[in-house]
């Protein structure tokens, strides 16, 4: 287990390293920040001075090396726009996004798993068929459209829920959270619902398929023959067997929630990382883009590592094949 973990960590570091190169080169290709940073009527000397100040006159590999050096020290450079360390700006927006992502993934699991279990156990019931048909809709509806419809219905027509912003936040561990106030919770409702619909559908279908696959297995019959209760059968024997694909999906979806809830955050004016990155891309704020992408890479690598560790606890056969 420990050697496996060490191997896996080395692998992760390598992935991050490769990503730094790709990200750095990619961002250099998409545009020259100089034209945005410097006013058009600046003269040649002024221009050269600023280019030198940001180190943009150096060759690409030397820029990359100095960027890598900074990265290792947790320094992605200062944001061109905010004039503050890019990492700091992003991290200050992170709690809002994390809050949204955690709430959305929790909701998806809490609703998706029971629905999937039900649909798997009683595939011919009306409710199960109805939910399965509904889940196709949940897959297909575009996020932005769903968000707008939800706003129109709950905020404009019914007037029950606020349409934008985070509402009142409470400081906890030095960070503001919407979780702890009614106002904050009511602001969470619509964006979380928007983000969850797709994931509920996905998890529900996966759980259903898993249950349908596991139920006819001999070991389930044998477990029944032992006289186990229905609950024990379902929550221990069935659920543990279907968790591997479900955990994989939850991990991936959680990562993408953090990284790509851009559209939802924009529509609901949620002050998270997604909205920040869109703004930064618009003004070609290079350090911000790079720092953001690196954080996302880091989060994805970490989540995958956690998922892999979960595999070994969920299915003992995985451990053997890796050793």
């Amino acid at each position: 287990m420990t050697t496996w973990l060490a191997q896996r960590l080395v692998q992760s570091v390598f992935v991050v390293l490769v990503m730094t190169a790709i990200v750095f080169v990619g961002v250099n290709v998409i545009g020259d920040p100089v034209s945005i940073l410097i006013s058009p009527d600046a003269n040649q000397q002024e221009r050269a001075r600023i280019v030198a100040e940001f180190g943009l006159d150096q060759p690409l590999w030397s820029q990359y090396l100095s960027f890598l050096k900074g990265t290792l020290q947790g320094n992605f450079g200062n944001s061109f726009v905010y004039g503050m360390p890019a990492l700091q700006v992003i991290l200050s927006r992170m709690p809002a996004t994390m809050e949204l992502a955690i709430a959305a993934i929790l909701l998806s699991v809490l609703i998706g798993v029971p629905l999937g279990l039900y649909a798997g156990l009683r595939p011919h019931s009306f409710f199960a068929k109805f939910m399965m048909a509904g889940s196709i809709l949940g897959f297909s509806v575009p996020l932005f459209w769903l968000a707008l419809i939800l706003i129109m219905f709950f905020s404009v027509y019914l007037g029950w829920l606020p349409a934008s912003g985070r509402g009142q936040t409470v400081d906890f561990l030095g960070i503001g959270w919407s979780f702890f106030t009614w106002d904050g919770l009511s602001h969470l409702c619509l964006p979380v619902l928007t983000l969850s619909i797709f994931k509920i559908s996905l998890i529900m279908r996966m759980v259903r398929a898993g249950v349908r696959e596991v139920l006819p297995q001999e070991y389930i019959k044998f477990a029944r023959a032992k006289g186990l209760s229905r609950q024990r059968l379902l929550y221990v024997h069935v659920l543990k067997n279907i968790m591997i694909p479900v955990v994989t999906i939850i991990g991936l979806e959680f990562g993408s929630l953090i990284a790509f809830s851009v559209v939802t955050e924009s529509i609901f004016s949620w002050p998270g990382m997604g909205k920040l990155i869109i703004d930064s891309i618009n003004v070609l704020d290079r350090p911000m883009i790079v720092a953001y992408l690196m954080i996302i890479v880091f989060i994805f690598v970490t989540i995958n590592l956690i998922v892999d560790i979960l595999y070994t606890t969920l299915d003992p056969r995985v451990r053997l094949s890796r050793d």
């Binding site: 297995q217 001999e218 477990a223 209760s229 024990r232 024997h237 056969r317």
Partner: protein, 340 residues
Amino acid sequence: MNGFASDPKTMHSSSRALLDVRGLKVKFKTNRGEGTAINDVSFTLRRGEVLGLVGESGSGKSVTGMSLMGLIENPGRICGGQILFDGIDLAKLSDLEMERLRGKRIAMIFQDPMMTLNPVLRISTQMIETVRAHDDVTLVEARRRARDALGQVGIPRPEERLDAYPHEFSGGMRQRVAIAIALLHKPDLIIADEPTTALDVTIQAQILSEVQKLTSEYGTALIWITHDLSIVCGLADNVAVMYGGQIVEYGPVAEVIRSPRHRYTDGLLNSVPSRNRRGDRLRQISGFAPSIFSMPQGCAFRPRCSFADDACHQTPPLATHGNHAHRCWHPISSREGLGS
């Protein structure tokens, strides 16, 4: 624990049948139509008795076993007959009552030991949960019982092996674990559904003798479902040959083997290669077992039987001679039987 019966071993005399199945009928309703998987199956089993239930796949032998366990699932259902187990009709019990009985007084062992244990749970988990499903004991006590049961079925170092996962065992060892689980509550009846079919011959013999030893030790009655008559020969007291959802021949093993009455039993016996002389062509029963959705009218074996005539369009009644019964219009006479 069981609300409806205390220890039967002291309550009833041993002469009374432990299991008395009468006219059992199981149907499956699918979109291909309704099929009768078991039709009018009756047999009895005394305490400690071993019954071999023999037949081809699709003959209804496994369905018979499953219906005794109350494990017939949709679209199948028991739609006639009685399963009197120690005086209680199992066919009438509620799900919860059946749940309390399963694993406690009737246990089952399945065919493929690679598939019967849950791959993601430790052996200890799967054994302890069985103990605690029926007896209100502490974890420590349940674990002790599980360890003892493993030791009894001949698993070396049971204390260590208890915490292993199923994939860390060989097929034969897994079947031993399954048998240990079945024996945990010292049931009155064990239904073994082809438990040695998937195993090597040497392991098969080990498992057979192990089961034989343990059941006679505890006085456990045993229903051994198999397609292999040679296994039944050495193991069972009585044998029931099933075909097309019916018992076509039933009687003491020695007698059925020596002088089979039903043409199908005779065919089965002749299909055992070791009974042939070297150089002889292997004999076979031509054709296939009928599907439950297209059962021939009358005797189900009619289309494959060279002795069939018009009379066979009527379902033959169960004709009994002493303790040997058969369902055939043209049974093999004892003299003819000797010759075959």
